[in-house]
C-alpha cells in the first residue's frame, strides 16, 4: 500500500518538476503513514538519481537500459506498471509535463487505476487522498477521491514547492523488468530556436495580446523577457492572427500556466485567457483600456500605452541590475 513517485529525467538530468513530485510524494506518504518509493527510467542515470535524496527519497529504483534512452510511452508504461506492482503501490505520482501527461494514463490503464490529472493540491482527509484539480481550464476546480481503485496522479509543475535540497544522496538500486516490444520509435527531435524553457515550466511569463498590433512588435517583449529571465507567451487573438506560434498560446485552448509572475501586455482578458493564467502567483497588467477585464485579476496594473511602458520597464530593470552589479 505504498506511494510510488516516478521521477522524470531528460537527457540524464532530473528536472525541477521531478524534485517537486518527490517532495510532495514524501509529504503525502508521511501523512498516509505509507512507505515511499521513488523510481526513475532512463539510461546512464544512476549517478544523477542519487540527487533525489535531497528531496526526500532514501532509495531510488532505477530501470536502466538503452531501451529507455528516449521516452516511448508503451515501453515506459510497461516498466512503470511493473515497478508499481512490485512495490504494491496504491498511489503513483508523476509530474504533469508532456511526458507525464502521455505516460500516466497508459500506466493507469495497465494497473486498473483511476487517473487524476494535473493536480494543484493534495490532502489526506479521512485517511484517503483528496486531490484538487482545475477543470474548464481553471474556471472551476474539482476535489476528487478514489472510488476504491489505486490512483495515478499527475502534479502540475510550478505549483508544489520543491524546496532546497536537504537530505543525503539517495541509495540507487537497479531494477530489471522484462523488455516490451515497442511499435513506435523517436525518429528526431527538433529544438525550438532560442527556447529552452517551456511556458508551463517558466517562473516568469510576459504575454502579449492583440494590443501588440503586429508580430514585429513582440521584440519589445522579448527584450523585457531577456532582462527578467522570462518566457514570452501570447493570447489566442495574437496566435490566431498568425503573429505567434500555437505553442505560445496561454488560455483555454492553449496552455494553462502558474508562474511566479505573469505580465499581461495588451491583453484585454477574455474569460478563456483568464482561465489559463489565473493561478499565477503575481499578475501584472499593462493595458491602455482601464476597463479591461484583465485589471480585475491583476495584482498590479499600469494603465497606459504599452509601447511606452514596456521599454521603460526594460530600461528600469537594466539600470537596477547595472547598479547592483556595480555595488
Amino acid at each position: 500500500m505504498s506511494v510510488l513517485v516516478l521521477a522524470e529525467q531528460r537527457q540524464g538530468q532530473f528536472r525541477r518538476a521531478a524534485f517537486e513530485t518527490v517532495r510532495e510524494g514524501a509529504r503525502l506518504a508521511g501523512q498516509l503513514g505509507a512507505p515511499l518509493h521513488v523510481a526513475a527510467l532512463g539510461s546512464g542515470i544512476e549517478k544523477s538519481a542519487a540527487a533525489l535524496g535531497g528531496y526526500g527519497a532514501t532509495k531510488v529504483l532505477v530501470v536502466e537500459g538503452d531501451a529507455y534512452t528516449a521516452y516511448l510511452g508503451e515501453a515506459w508504461a510497461a516498466a512503470a506498471a511493473e515497478v508499481a506492482k512490485r512495490v504494491s503501490a496504491r498511489t503513483l505520482l508523476l509530474a504533469a509535463t508532456s511526458l507525464g501527461k502521455d505516460l500516466a494514463p497508459q500506466v493507469a490503464a495497465r494497473l486498473g487505476a483511476g487517473l487524476v490529472a494535473d493536480c494543484v493540491a493534495l490532502a489526506v482527509t479521512d485517511g484517503e487522498i483528496e486531490a484538487t484539480r482545475p477543470v474548464f481550464a481553471g474556471k472551476a476546480r474539482v476535489r476528487v477521491r478514489s472510488a476504491g481503485a489505486p490512483l495515478v496522479l499527475t502534479l502540475r509543475p510550478n505549483v508544489f514547492p520543491a524546496g532546497n535540497p536537504t537530505g543525503p544522496p539517495a541509495a540507487v538500486e537497479r531494477v530489471e523488468v522484462p523488455p516490451c516490444p515497442a511499435r513506435s520509435r523517436v525518429v528526431g527531435v527538433e529544438t525550438a530556436a532560442g527556447r529552452t524553457v517551456d511556458l508551463t515550466e517558466a517562473s516568469i511569463i510576459v504575454s502579449g495580446g492583440r494590443g501588440m498590433g503586429g508580430p514585429e512588435n513582440y521584440r519589445i517583449l522579448e527584450e523585457l523577457a531577456r532582462e527578467i529571465g522570462a518566457v514570452v507567451g501570447a493570447s489566442r487573438a495574437s496566435v490566431d492572427a498568425g503573429w505567434r506560434p500555437h505553442s505560445d498560446q496561454v488560455g483555454q485552448t492553449g496552455k494553462t500556466v502558474s508562474p511566479n509572475l505573469y505580465l499581461a501586455v495588451g491583453i484585454s482578458g477574455a474569460i478563456q485567457h483568464l482561465a489559463g493564467m489565473r493561478t499565477s502567483k503575481v499578475i501584472v497588467a499593462i493595458n491602455k483600456d482601464p476597463e479591461a477585464p484583465i485589471f480585475k485579476v491583476a495584482d498590479y496594473g499600469i494603465v497606459g500605452d504599452l509601447f511606452e511602458v514596456v521599454p521603460a520597464l526594460t530600461e528600469a530593470v537594466r539600470k537596477r541590475k547595472a547598479a547592483e552589479g556595480a555595488a
Partner: protein, 251 residues
C-alpha cells in the same frame, strides 16, 4: 483506410461556470454546447486523410447524452461518413477510465487503422482518454500532434514537448491525439449539412462502467484579492518595479 475520430460534447469555451445544486456538477442552465475544439482538429485531420485515400471510411464516435447526436451531426456535416453514439444520461459523471473503456470497446468493434482524439476535452481537461484507450487496445499512441504524416503501415507525428518538437513514428493501428495547429477545421457547408441528415448514426447504450474516481465537490476557484492600479503611463514604472521587488518579491 478505416478511421475513427472520437468527439465530446462540451460547454462552449465562453461558458461561465455555475455549480449545480448537487455540488459536484455544472449547472447546465443556459449552457451552449459544442464539439470540443481539440476534437475538431482530430475530425478535420481524419477527413483530410479520407479525402486523400480512396475507399476510406471515417466513423465519429461519441460518449454522451442523447443530445450529443447534434455534435455527431456537426462532424458528419464536416465530412465524416457515419456516427456511433454511446448514450449515457450520466456521461458527465464518468471519469477518464470509464470513458476510455467504453470508447475502447467501440473502437475494437469498428477495427480502424487509426483512432484520433483531441488532446483533451475543454471541460474536464484531463488529456487522458486518448492514451488510456491506446493502452487498453495495446496500440502505440502519439499525443499532442501538430503535424501528421501517413506512410506504408506507419503514422508519423510531430509532437510538442518542453522546448522542442519530437518526431515519432508508430506502426498502425495507432492512436493519435490532436494539438492546436494540426489544421484549420472547416465549417460545414450547406451541402454537407443536408448530406449529414441522411448519414447513419447508431445510437446505443454505453456500457455501464464503474468510475475509479469520484468527484466530491465542484467549486469556483478562490477569488483573487482586488489588485491596484499603480498608475498611468511610464511614470508608474519605478513604483511597479518597487512593488514587484519589495512587496510581491516576484522579481
Amino acid at each position: 483506410m478505416k478511421l475513427v475520430a472520437c468527439v465530446k460534447r462540451v460547454p462552449a469555451t465562453d461558458t461561465r461556470v455555475r455549480v449545480a445544486a448537487d455540488g459536484v456538477s455544472l449547472d447546465p442552465q443556459g449552457v451552449e454546447w459544442i464539439v470540443s475544439p481539440y476534437d475538431e482538429f482530430a475530425v478535420e485531420e481524419a477527413i483530410r486523410i479520407r479525402e486523400k485515400l480512396a475507399g476510406s471510411e471515417l466513423v465519429v464516435v461519441s460518449l454522451g447524452p442523447a443530445e450529443a447526436a447534434k455534435e455527431i451531426r456537426t462532424c458528419l456535416a464536416m465530412g465524416a461518413d457515419r456516427g456511433v453514439l454511446l448514450e449515457d444520461r450520466a456521461a458527465y459523471a464518468r471519469d477518464v477510465s470509464s470513458v476510455a473503456e467504453a470508447l475502447a470497446g467501440a473502437i475494437r468493434e469498428i477495427g480502424p487503422d487509426l483512432a484520433l482524439f483531441g488532446r483533451q476535452s475543454v471541460d474536464s481537461d484531463s488529456a487522458g482518454v486518448g492514451p488510456f484507450v491506446a493502452a487498453l487496445l495495446g496500440w502505440p499512441v502519439l499525443t499532442f500532434v501538430r503535424k501528421l504524416e501517413l506512410g506504408d503501415g506507419l503514422v508519423r507525428g510531430h509532437r510538442e514537448i518542453e522546448g522542442a518538437t519530437e518526431v515519432v513514428e508508430a506502426r498502425l493501428p495507432a492512436v493519435v491525439t490532436a494539438e492546436k495547429g494540426l489544421n484549420e477545421p472547416r465549417y460545414p457547408s450547406l451541402k454537407g449539412i443536408m448530406a449529414a441528415k441522411k448519414k447513419p448514426v447508431d445510437i446505443r447504450p454505453a456500457p455501464p462502467l464503474a468510475p475509479r474516481t469520484r468527484v466530491v465537490a465542484l467549486e469556483l476557484p478562490p477569488v483573487r484579492p482586488p489588485g491596484k492600479v499603480v498608475g498611468k503611463g511610464k511614470e508608474a514604472v519605478p513604483e511597479l518595479l518597487r512593488l514587484l521587488r519589495e512587496e510581491a518579491k516576484a522579481l
